[in-house]
Point group: C2
Chain length 302, copies 2
């Protein structure tokens, strides 16, 4: 068996980028796609995000060797149910959801007996929709697969090969551990960014227009993250609740300690923390996950 | 009177950028500079950050029409005392410190009878030192002046003209209000970024190497801010304590409310907040304080 045809369900940032990346890196592989929104389907056709845009989810998945669900995590179960009548027995069913335990349970429940291998490409931007995708989104980024116990090694290797062909490096992880790691590296940063932007919008002493004008002092970076899709992120927080609350508790404790240091004028405690945090930045740059230049080197995604 | 010679004290990111910007935009104006660190002075000479690098702070300021202190806010008073013997009676003394009330009080105390007009260019990067500066740092950025009561209008106009020549738009503000606004748009974002990076470094369940590998999910943006200079930021938090603690209190309340919404599974509350925060992002982009492109458009600073 090998992957000769791929069905992509949900043609937004992730689904569109996968379609474009397959066209670029795996030109022999056929792609079909579906999105619940007719306007998204129409834009997806215009941009040729997939070889064929179908008006029916069942047609889109029929005969596909690999089906990738690229919808918000709260919509995974519904999409899986809807496509089931067209799903080939041999198909690998995967997804790109930002949380994995809840999605894995939902897909196993809806598609018993099928080969389900959840995945999460750790790559994205704050933009969404059918105009947001681009073929190089996955270059030099990690893709985490969370195969269930007893997963067939050959099928896992096929899915790994697929993501590597798109430019990713693949890691295998337990779904629960994935959710804890991503709570720290992605979910909590988003939650904090949403919060501070919300706080800043609601102040009486400082106007919104002042917040906007002087945002170059650091705040603007948070607004970028806080401009991410509301539905996607609502679903992530609802589905990864336990890990998010756990990590949020740690963060709040640390923030309280820092608050106390400021109140007491304990400059040494502040200086110590501010010095330790630089080391992580250096490693991130060394490992190619960000760039030291003022433009972050993200221009290479254009 | 007009500004024909400028003395820059502290030749790091800000001081170096001012020197280079004067050379580019005001080629008729002479610049001299001093830094406490001999290695910084030597690099400053190599890069020609100012016309003349002096080994003595008193020589650097002698006869200057404008003296700009570009040292950490905790070092402003010491630098002002040290330069006092060389300071001309007619000189405008200004600075670029990130907090303004404390600096203003300190400079008034050390330099009674002199014309002191504190300033804060809201422009920066996470890098510091004599190699970090560049001439276009202030382009399209705000510079806030916080003149004391009774400040001479003509001198204020001169300083305004100087910053406008460097590419900034100038705003006049009360020092206390400045400190509140910047607590929101700059100081709290930095504090939060330092905290989350610290929290992530200290976990037992998630390794540092995992945090680094999967940082592209949002975390890496926080590490950039949390790589800022420890001394500079320690001084900012110590000198702007009251406004920082006040704003931190608001942020913590809002975070607690969001935490409760996640615990209760209140998806509507999450979706509402995540939708509201997008509007601010749009305004920031419209007003040229950030860019919608994936590289943030910061390439124009190179
Ligand atoms: N954005 C990121 O940075 C990122 C990174 C990694 C992983 N992810 C994950 O990728 C998935 C997709 O995110 P995205 O950023 O690509 O979102 P997106 O751009 O909003 O695309 C999602 C698309 O799925 C459609 N959709 C929703 N429910 C559907 C259903 N039942 N059947 C068919 N189509 C449906 C949506 O249509 P409507 O607009 O009509 O709802 C939308 O067009 C999410 O699970 C997210 O967690 C995102
Ligand atoms: N970085 C930003 O994004 C930014 C933005 C706006 C405003 N500011 C403000 O600008 C000021 C300078 O920040 P920066 O980023 O330019 O820092 P920087 O790159 O570290 O430069 C500061 C320089 O001042 C020197 N210095 C310290 N004490 C001194 C003294 N008493 N006399 C003479 N030189 C002394 C330092 O030498 P040593 O290394 O030996 O200490 C260092 O070379 C700070 O007040 C900061 O709040 C910064």
């Amino acid at each position: 068996m090998s992957i000769d045809s791929v069905a992509i369900i949900g043609l937004g940032l992730l689904g569109g980028s996968i379609g474009l990346a397959v066209a670029e890196h795996l030109p022999g592989v056929q792609t079909r796609g579906f999105d619940a929104d007719p306007e998204v389907r129409s834009r997806a056709s215009d941009r040729a995000l997939v070889g064929e845009v179908c008006d029916d989810i069942v047609d889109a998945v029929r005969g596909a060797d690999l089906v990738i669900l690229c919808v918000p995590v709260g919509a995974m179960g519904m999409a899986a149910s809807a496509m089931k009548p067209g799903l080939a027995d041999h198909a690998i069913v995967s997804d790109v959801g930002s949380s994995k335990q809840g999605v894995a349970q939902e897909l196993e429940r809806v598609l018993p007996g099928h080969t389900v291998i959840p995945a999460h490409p750790v790559a994205g931007t704050e933009q969404s929709g059918p105009d947001a995708g681009f073929a190089s989104l996955f270059h030099q980024r990690w893709c985490i697969l969370t195969p269930p116990d007893g997963c067939d090694h050959a099928r896992l290797a096929e899915l790994r090969g697929f993501w590597e062909a798109l430019g990713s490096t693949v890691d295998i992880m337990d779904a629960a551990h994935h959710d804890l790691v991503l709570a720290v590296t992605s979910h909590i940063p988003h939650l904090i960014a949403y919060t501070i932007v919300g706080t800043a919008s609601d102040l009486e002493e400082v106007t919104r227009s002042e917040v906007i004008k002087y945002s170059a002092g650091g705040f603007r970076d948070f607004t970028r993250i806080a401009a991410s899709d509301p539905t996607m992120w609502r679903d992530v927080f609802l589905s990864n609740r336990d890990a998010v609350l756990e990590m949020l508790g740690r963060f709040s404790e640390d923030l309280t300690a820092l608050q106390r240091a400021i109140r007491r004028g304990d400059g040494d405690a502040l200086h110590d923390l501010f010095t330790r945090t630089r080391a992580i930045r250096r490693s991130i740059i060394e490992q190619g996950q960000d760039d030291a230049r003022p433009d972050f080197g993200r221009g290479d995604h254009e």
